[in-house]
Subunit: 435 residues, 2 copies
Amino acid sequence: MLEQLLKLCSEVISRENLENTETLTKALEECRRLNLSEDFARRLLGLLLEEYSRLYGPREREDGLGLRAFAARAREMRLSGRPVMRLELGEPDFSAPPSVVEAACKAISEGYSKYGPAIGITELREAIAEKLSERFGVDLKVDNVAITAGGTFATYGSIEALSKPGDEIVIIEPAWPLYSHQAKRLGRKVSKIKTTFEEDWNPVKALQEKVSKLTKIIIINYPNNPTGKVLDPKTLKEILEIAEDVGAWVISDEVYIDFSYNGKSTSILQLSTQKTLMLNSFSKTWGMTGFRVGYVVSEPEIVKKVAAAQNTAITCIPEFIQRAALAALNDEQAAKRNIELIGKRLNILYEELSKSSLIDVKPPQGAMYIFPRIKLENFDSWKFAKALLEEKEVAVAPGACFGDYNNHLRISAVLDEKPLREACKRIREFLEKYG
Amino acid sequence: MLEQLLKLCSEVISRENLENTETLTKALEECRRLNLSEDFARRLLGLLLEEYSRLYGPREREDGLGLRAFAARAREMRLSGRPVMRLELGEPDFSAPPSVVEAACKAISEGYSKYGPAIGITELREAIAEKLSERFGVDLKVDNVAITAGGTFATYGSIEALSKPGDEIVIIEPAWPLYSHQAKRLGRKVSKIKTTFEEDWNPVKALQEKVSKLTKIIIINYPNNPTGKVLDPKTLKEILEIAEDVGAWVISDEVYIDFSYNGKSTSILQLSTQKTLMLNSFSKTWGMTGFRVGYVVSEPEIVKKVAAAQNTAITCIPEFIQRAALAALNDEQAAKRNIELIGKRLNILYEELSKSSLIDVKPPQGAMYIFPRIKLENFDSWKFAKALLEEKEVAVAPGACFGDYNNHLRISAVLDEKPLREACKRIREFLEKYG
């Protein structure tokens, strides 16, 4: 009977259109009739689909993970004495402010280094709820907030909390490669949609086409890494409506929300608290990348589930780190300084890159990046970035790391004015030669 | 065709013996013939099996997770001013030594708070490789070691690295409840074997019966939480042979290896480096529970996979925490002091509990716990522990948290002599009354 089952699986894989809402609806009905669980139907379909793409789908390149190896090469070159200008990572050059360093040391010395609740310490959760409530005119309580191991676990845990293996997660490209990587590791099915430079990175049309009853989560990230795009409230509302129509959750990754330079950045919290989850991190605003602390904001039930996922993976976040985050939250001066600095540099990047006739670049709106389009036919972003690093000692991230964007480069605003201008000059010159 | 497939699934679930090595072998062969992947066969079987236990299996109680709620109640009572003696958790009462606190503060102040490699910093990995090589007479290199977010991510990441969804993980009970919880979250199939007080917690016979070609990983933990059992090299060797016979991996959780009081504790590293993974943590030996730092030791390829899993979930471990761990490694005095202290307390627990005719207790061998058997018919460990906490202000962990051990209690050696003796006295008296 098992042989028969496998044979039938193989036939279903080759003949049925599994990526169809009706197929799922039918399967769910059938499962109810057979007394099988809904989960079973979803996961079986997911399994069949995965096998389908293994057998018939295009070979997907995991370019995003290549960026780490590339960054390691840049680091190695610097260590060997070559003055590489590193603009390839999303790590600010500024460090945690003295207030944060001091608070961390104080907390360690006072023994805040015991097991604590997986959901985070109450003081920090309360402070976050209060700050956000005030800033966005909403009414958040401590139960709406869980502290996470950076933005990374915020997305990982949220995917775990909001979906099951086999469920579809929609990701808007260009995107931080870890979303798709996390979703796949957790056995979720990833559906990518493409936004373009030409359409000003607007995702609405593509989302309308892709999202279906199969969609469990849509992940959005504005201000965007890598494009810097900031979404206006109207567009954000449209996305929420698309999600609502199919009953999908929206995860809004807002780690760059402070880095918004056109005055338009909207938090999802301002528009809806129904089936939405907002996440943020202390990494960028306060230069605390290596502290690994961030948070999620959602309904109390969901927040608890994220904490449960965190409990399973790492038990808890060191309390002394959470106390350092509390100090960061209160250091608005440091945040302001950092935000202004990045904004100034984004303008410098824009000014310098605009000088080249081979580069299409949009005025910066937010985040820490510029994502120019290179006007050369058959431009290969990986090949170019590697050559630029070895020959001109400038490291930038290939556009291919963020999806099907091989004619783009991502340049981070993480150096001071002088080296930044010099790096841009080398990029321009190398492009001329390369073209 | 899909309806047909679901119907057939439902029939296979109810009629076939899926938990059979032959079934898997047949399925794998059939998949090869049909050009389906081996993964597909394994995951499909896993899915069918899971649905089987949902439909026909016993309702499993997740008692292990109840312990956190119980501990929260004990904490709450203390905060409200009641002098509760807390012996319910695996957290030492001693804190990180001054050398560690100092190193952590120094590293934070010096700016070791940037993104770092997911596998951990080289200095710490090298130091661990060196220490272990010297201690166990083996030859480990930096590539054999990955730093993890505590013992918790060490097991989580190892399960991810060594198995796939649907694979069978064998867990020896009584056990730390998180193993099974992690495995299930990762979509693995958990098979539990039971060891008993009567057979001196020896797992060999039960393992021989349970382990099959379906088994991908056996998790062992000696010195054991909760029993304190220390395994002799001969028994450990027998386990390794059982694993080798079926091609399974052995994950050896050695977080209590320093707490071994009968001179017999063997590390798996001393016996085999083939398909074995050893993990440890800084939490217990140096009282660093809240720092969240541990490590895994295995073949370089596996170690890289654990690091990749960590990269996906949390990016990296704060470097200042790793530098604190390096200081701990060099503070052998602090380790020695802590180990002696726990040993002395285990003897006190043994002495005090032996006084009761209602308690069966074995001389302590290792770890930080005593796991006595209560000689009362129909003893309910949860009911007793809750009543003991509310009426006598002593918190202990119910045996049911660790598997089918409802006539046991786990008592942690985490208080000083005087309160420890007093707590035991209250347990004895309450048992008399309770009986």
